[in-house]
Amino acid sequence: MIELETTEAGPSRRQFLQGTGAAVTATALTGFAASDTPAAELQPGGGGQVPAVGPGAAKITLNVNGRDVQTSVEPRVTLLDALRNYLDVTGCKRVCDRATCGACTVMLDGKVVYSCTMLAIEAQGKAIRTAESLYNDGKADAIPVAFARTDAQQCGFCTPGFVVAMKAVLEANPQATPAEVERGLQGNICRCGTYEQMRDAIYSLCNTKRV
């Protein structure tokens, strides 16, 4: 079954179904009432003092690249999908979608995470930084510049993830050695295999001559 994503711009599947008078069908299909069910009724184990969010869309506020932005997502929407599909922040890429390849890497309070494997709702209250944060006032950060100079990308799809992962290492420790920077890239994969050129970029960023 293809699941339509709810977006701010277009009508959602649920709105569409309700609009055509098919709310009863929607309930049967999804297993949830289309209207907002009181949280307590969803809690067989008790714990009534903790409110349920969803399964319908709920408003969330994310701090993305220094700016608070609001959107409305179902609890299952990942941070990656919220950024790309709801907030138009497309630097982070969706590749494996299984916490393996690293193309979706973003910083959360300065630490790299896989945005494909974190719920958007859980990223509230954290400072989220994507590759877009490395381009300010018409000027690119030293890391993307080094990538361009050393030709450290081919198709470029993995590059924003690598750049963010590298930024996190060098921000935490500006004196990091090339080996330490490389260790910080363990969670990223480049399918084109531009690792050697990335090594050139790393050495230039660490002001170390590569032998």
């Binding site: 949280a39 969803l42 067989p44 184990g45 609890p75 393996t100």
Partner: protein, 334 residues
């Protein structure tokens, strides 16, 4: 991913009250690195997800003179870089620093690592028959089983235990603090925490579905310890075989006592090898004795069609883990 209602309790008691007596309809979410992937594969399809990430009390580390306590919500990155834990419990911190890549270590938690689901590709493929998903047969026993268990006696499901922290913690004699309904607290030795699952209502551990691991307690006994992994890739993967060891003494010709040797990724649960420990008990750790312990560790192994190679890997991993813990030269890095 099937949609769900999301709960964000702020105390362990609230979290436990939200759980159910049976697995499946409600899942706990910590780092999410296992659960979200299972949900995307439709292996886990909870209607309710209870986030543990707003529970501050799960994120503390307390190191005392007699024991250390690590909250279940502490991240793998924090464990691997914690100076006291590195000094006292190398078997734990060495393993933590090798898990996944930095993203996984920043997200993944101690509790999640201990309770993660197995990596069997038939289990994780919704279209393959699998005992743990209600099927009548195990696809791995006669199928593609090169990463599965080699200690398979009496096991109908031949998964390999995935947690690389469990082995070290068992070697160090750690126990889990567990909170259940009605504020019922119990303490379980990690050596007795794991059970081999056989059906859809089982997990890889002995927790009830409405119980929560709140912390892990490790006795401070001044043990020498280490963990060693045999890997196919240097990063972002599970090891093929992992071994953790701990003992008193054993260095500079001194006798090793209280030897604990735990094998990971070779049976449905982490395997505390009594034969290996017996081979070494009361002897100094040197290359010859470590080699003998490695041989003893694989006694009784009954590999499947494609994984006989793991036997040799276990022998070598036991030997190297012992040599690391004893501070002997790393001949394999020369």
């Amino acid at each position: 991913m099937k949609n769900f209602a999301y709960f964000r309790p702020t105390t362990p008691e609230q979290a436990v009250a939200l759980l159910e007596a049976r697995w499946g309809n409600t899942e706990m979410l910590a780092g999410g690195t296992d659960l979200l992937t299972l949900q995307k594969q439709y292996i886990a399809q909870p209607a309710r997800v209870v986030s543990l990430n707003a529970i501050g009390g799960l994120k503390t580390i307390a190191v005392g003179e007699r024991s250390a306590s690590i909250g279940a919500g502490v991240t793998l990155a924090t464990i691997s870089s914690h100076a006291d834990l590195r000094r006292l419990f190398p078997a734990l911190t060495m393993a933590a620093s090798e898990i996944g890549g930095p993203q996984i270590r920043n997200m993944g938690t101690l509790g999640g690592n201990l309770c993660q689901r197995n990596r069997c590709w038939y289990f994780r493929d919704e279209h393959s028959p699998c005992l743990l998903r209600g099927g009548n047969s195990c696809s791995a026993i006669e199928g593609e089983n090169k990463y599965h268990a080699i200690f398979t006696q009496n096991h109908r499901c031949v998964i390999a235990s995935p947690s690389t922290l469990a082995t070290g913690l068992i070697a160090l004699g750690a126990s889990a603090e567990v909170l259940g309904p009605q504020n019922r607290r119990r303490n379980v030795e990690l050596a007795k925490f794991y059970t081999a699952p056989v059906g859809p209502n089982d997990r890889e551990h002995s927790l009830a579905a409405n119980e929560l691991v709140t912390s892990v307690t490790i006795p401070v006994r001044g043990l020498n310890s280490a963990a060693y992994e045999v890997r196919q890739r240097q990063a972002s993967d599970w090891p093929i075989v992992q071994v953790a060891v701990a003992f008193s003494g054993g260095r500079n010709g001194e006798k090793a006592t209280g030897v604990r040797i735990v094998l990971g990724q070779v049976s449905p649960t982490p395997l505390l090898s009594e034969t290996a420990a017996r081979a070494l008990e009361g002897r100094p750790i040197n290359e010859a004795n470590a080699t003998a312990a490695g041989r003893a560790a694989v006694e009784g192994a009954k590999p499947l069609g494609q994984n006989g190679y793991k036997i040799r890997l276990v022998e070598v991993a036991v030997k190297r883990a012992l040599m690391l813990a004893a501070g002997l030269p790393r001949y394999w890095e020369a």
